[in-house]
């Protein structure tokens, strides 16, 4: 016997839902979905680009791969490619130096760690490069180096800023009184360590130890405020390094680790919440210029945009001007270096139907970056497009394994690796094309061009 009341309730509910569907108040639905036996409940499996594990030198292909997302109409990457070529040929001291500025993904050394690893596999490992002396954010990291600091007053350009705007190469200043310490553990041996500090009136003394042996002191007293550097050799096996303030105050910006072998140093210089605005407004111009010049970079990557991407008015009114200023500062400071504008990754948000969609203003921001790069004679890498363009966050979020975080902004390790591989492939493909081009007219004499 039919349960009358429940049957009527279910039938009425069905009728109401049909009405709601007709009025577009309920979720759209077609009856055929019930009979759909395709296994659509399985998440997409996003194939991960394999990381080529080879130490073979990159050869110049006769028919190089065209990389549509790396735009370099002005041949701006020439300096970088020439440096890579020298490095590849193993010329003594041929180190290719890259400075990669960016926001939170770079802060955690995701993406950059993968690019570093790939370039170093192919061209040689010249060391970890720049590392902050403590974690301004728990999120900060550098793959292959464990850094812990205690007792430092930390001023990051995106947070509690240093009043004088002296934020060093990495955008963060550390000031410590007597007793402040930093401890580093390296995964591999390095030949030397450079300490980035500030000479200042009344500056104190920093003691440096490696592998339990005291290497020396850094005297930071000086007549006026000026960034300075002190290099210490590291013995084989000295992988634990300690810095301690013997007499305060001491102001540090970071340390760099290098090897004495030809290779690539890929510096990861991320700021949580970083924007071009942080550089323009809060980096002291002369001091940052001095830091850039000290590095002699072959390539400077400017990889901001994620944090700006949700402010439509700002993007239209102020963003192009501020991006222009950052590029000008870099070009003025290191005119021989290549400059690459790297667009942000896709960024998602829930739309009115609660689907994950690209932030509406992001494509516009990427377009501004592309135009500005072209105008200013820089190269441009369209990360957004290389990932797959609009809707990538939704696809990467639903993929198995998941590639991005539930904030639809930050990559998970697998996603970061994918973006890192994309950037590396673009750069290396561009390099192969460059080599092929250079070798064509003057065969057998490329070395003269790559010797600096």
């Amino acid at each position: 016997m039919f349960p009358k009341k429940t049957s009527l309730a279910i039938a009425t509910l069905g009728a109401l839902l049909l009405l709601l569907d007709f009025a577009k108040l309920a979720r759209p639905f077609t009856l055929s979905e019930v009979l759909d036996f395709r296994p659509h409940d399985i998440p997409n499996v996003e194939p991960l680009a394999p990381i080529p594990a080879t130490n073979r030198p990159v050869t110049a292909f006769k028919h190089p791969i065209i990389e549509p997302n790396l735009m370099d109409p002005h041949d701006n990457l020439r300096a970088f490619y020439l440096a890579l070529w020298r490095t590849e040929l193993g010329a003594p001291g041929a180190i290719t130096r890259v400075l990669h500025y960016g926001d939170s993904p770079v802060t955690a050394d995701s993406i950059t760690a993968d690019v570093r690893s790939l370039l170093q596999q192919h061209f040689g490992d010249a060391g970890h490069g720049f590392v902050l002396i403590a974690k301004p954010w728990a999120w900060y990291g550098h793959r292959g180096v464990e850094a812990q600091g205690k007792g430092w007053r930390i001023n990051a350009a995106t947070q509690v800023r240093a009043k004088d705007g002296f934020h060093g190469l990495g955008g963060v200043s550390f000031e410590g009184d007597t007793g402040a310490t930093s401890h580093f553990e390296l995964a591999e041996d390095h030949a030397q360590m450079e300490i980035h500090f500030l000479h200042q009136p009344g500056g104190g003394v920093l003691a440096v130890e490696a592998g339990g042996q005291k290497l020396g002191d850094v005297e930071t007293e000086g007549p006026d405020k000026q960034p300075d550097y002190r290099t210490f050799p590291l013995a084989a096996g000295a992988r634990e390094i300690d810095l301690s303030v013997e007499r305060g105050p001491v102001r540090l910006f970071g340390v760099s680790f290098e090897r004495n072998t030809p290779g690539v140093i890929y510096n990861s210089l991320g700021l949580n919440g970083g924007q071009v605005q942080s550089v323009v407004r809060y980096f002291d111009k002369p001091q940052w210029t001095a830091e850039l010049q000290h590095q002699h970079p072959d390539l400077v990557v400017i990889n901001y945009g994620t944090n700006e991407s949700i402010y439509a008015d700002y993007i239209e009114r102020s963003y192009p001007g501020e991006l222009r200023q950052v590029i000008e500062r870099v070009k003025t400071a290191v005119p021989r270096a290549s400059v690459l504008i790297m667009s942000p990754m896709d960024r998602g948000q829930r739309d009115a139907n609660s689907r994950i969609a690209t932030v509406p203003t992001l494509p516009r921001l990427v377009e501004i970056q592309r135009q500005m790069a072209s105008e200013m004679g820089c190269a441009f890498f369209n990360t957004f497009q290389a990932m797959g363009g609009e809707g990538t966050m939704a696809r990467w979020y639903d993929s198995q394994p998941r590639l991005v975080s539930a904030d639809f902004t930050h990559p998970l390790p697998a996603g970061a690796r994918k973006v890192g591989v994309l950037l590396d492939q673009a750069l290396e493909s561009g390099y192969r094309q460059f080599k092929a081009r250079e070798q064509r007219p003057a065969r057998g004499a490329p070395l003269s061009k790559v010797t600096r």
């Binding site: 039919f2 399985i42 904030d407």
Partner: protein
């Protein structure tokens, strides 16, 4: 076919009408249920149409043989065969790739239910099914196969025989449970997950200690509302066919101690572990008391490993096993202090138990032990920022926490009121929920957390 999709509810309505149309004939109702079961499985993957009937037929035959057989070695062999079959099926679907593609639905709950059949017969606690169709209808009963509640087949079988009529009270209760389950899933669990919990567990170092702690509290409530929401829909779905499934939750975060927690959380699973695993482990009747404690830990570690082959689940299982063993040891030394506790002490015990469980949930949810460690570090760091916590998240968190402690009589009152509504009002309430879900929760829900186990 998730239990929250429109496809499922159209399917359920069709099964409801077909079932009651055929209700005069037992064979008819069983045929409808078996067809519905296999249709349901096929919607996940057509491969189940081979796996499930084959496994069920084996268990049915083993059950009959166990009943007739009197020689203990042969009976042991038969029950071992059934255990190997079901554990093998669960493990092969979950951990091994027996097919060139991934099966979306783990068969754990099917396996657990099937094992209750053969083990109960082996122990002479139950008799075999008198009908092959009744067994097929019970073993793969569609409302229970995604994530339970794990129902002993011996309690399902008699229910196919007593079909008379669905009372309006039962029908109202079924619809109420389905509606309640949808609210729990869409408006609480998914909301908490989307707004903070998933982000915090993905990249904990990006968030302050306070945000991570809020995310962990959020997860505790998300998991409860997700799973109990699923269970409500499953129980409601069975009830529209007049089948009663066991209760699976009883305000678990109100537990006074860890043993109490496991009497309130995923009750059908903890009962299964107790009855079919813990009591089967060696040494329980030994004079060495240590076995009783050790077996608790072993049982919970195995329970943890059932959730997934990862260290996080081992830690989670061991954490609860050690907690249960420690509580038992405490009771053995001091007696059960329940009756002597003051109200304040009971609140403190409740809070301590909740936070003990909370630490376990960190490992349960984290993608690796490293991530769990990061979460704990962030909480201990004491960094305070609420930039990523929205007022709406706090509001839902408070409502979710408060609703957890709603007295049973309020719940019963709400249910009674709903059941008294005329049919059109009952329908209107659920339709209104559909609209609310459309606007608050959006177009799609995440799969139930427990469906992957």
């Amino acid at each position: 076919m998730l239990l929250t999709t429109a496809a499922y509810f159209i399917f359920l309505a069709a099964v409801f009408f077909a079932y009651w149309f055929a209700a005069r004939y037992r064979l008819g109702t069983l045929a409808v249920v078996v067809f519905a079961n296999y249709f349901f499985y096929a919607r996940w993957d057509l491969a189940y149409l081979v796996l499930i009937p084959a496994a069920s037929t084996c268990d049915f035959l083993i059950g009959n043989a166990l009943h007739k057989e009197t020689r203990p070695p042969v009976r042991r062999l038969l029950v071992t065969l059934s255990i190997a079959l079901n554990v093998g099926l669960m493990a092969s679907v979950k951990y091994l790739s027996i097919l060139p593609w991934v099966l979306p639905l783990a068969l754990s709950f099917y396996g657990f239910q099937s094992l209750t059949y053969t083990i109960d017969i082996y122990r002479r606690d139950a008799k075999p099914a008198d009908s092959y169709l009744a067994y097929l209808a019970s073993a793969s009963f569609f409302p229970t196969t995604v994530a339970g509640p794990i129902t002993r087949i011996s309690t399902l079988l008699p229910q196919w025989s007593k079909r008379e009529m669905l009372t309006s009270q039962e029908g109202g209760r079924a619809l109420f449970l389905i509606g309640l389950g949808l609210v729990k899933k869409f408006l609480i669990a998914d909301y908490l997950a989307e707004t903070l919990v998933n982000r915090v567990f993905d990249l904990p170092k990006l968030y302050s200690g306070a945000e991570v702690l809020a995310g962990v509290y959020g997860y505790a409530l998300q998991l409860y509302y997700d799973f109990s929401g699923y269970t409500d829909i499953a129980i409601g779905s069975a009830l529209v066919l007049g089948i009663t499934l066991p209760r699976n939750f009883n305000r678990p975060y109100a537990a006074q101690n860890i043993s109490d927690f496991w009497r309130r959380w995923h009750i059908s699973f903890s009962n299964w572990l107790r009855d079919y695993l813990y009591f089967s482990l060696p040494g329980l009747r030994s004079r060495w008391k240590i076995f009783a404690y050790l077996n608790l830990v072993i049982t919970m570690v195995i329970g943890g490993l059932w959730h997934g082959a990862g260290w996080t689940f081992v830690v989670w299982g061991a954490w609860h096993g050690i907690g249960l063993a420690a509580h038992r040891a405490w009771n053995a030394l001091h007696g059960n202090p329940k009756l002597t506790l003051t109200r304040g002490a009971r609140i403190l015990c409740g809070l301590a138990t909740f936070h003990f469980v909370l630490i376990g949930w960190i490992f349960f949810r984290a993608s690796s032990v490293g991530v769990a460690r990061d979460i704990l570090y962030q909480i201990i760091s004491g960094t305070i920022s609420f930039a990523n916590i929205t007022p709406a998240f706090v509001l839902v968190l408070i409502i979710a926490a408060a609703a957890h402690f709603v007295p049973d009589r309020w719940y019963a009152g709400g249910l009674e009121l709903y059941c008294q509504f005329p049919y059109y009002a009952q329908a209107a309430v659920i339709a209104a929920l559909a609209v609310a879900i459309r606007y608050v929760a959006g177009s799609g829900s995440a799969p139930f957390i427990y469906s992957r186990f």
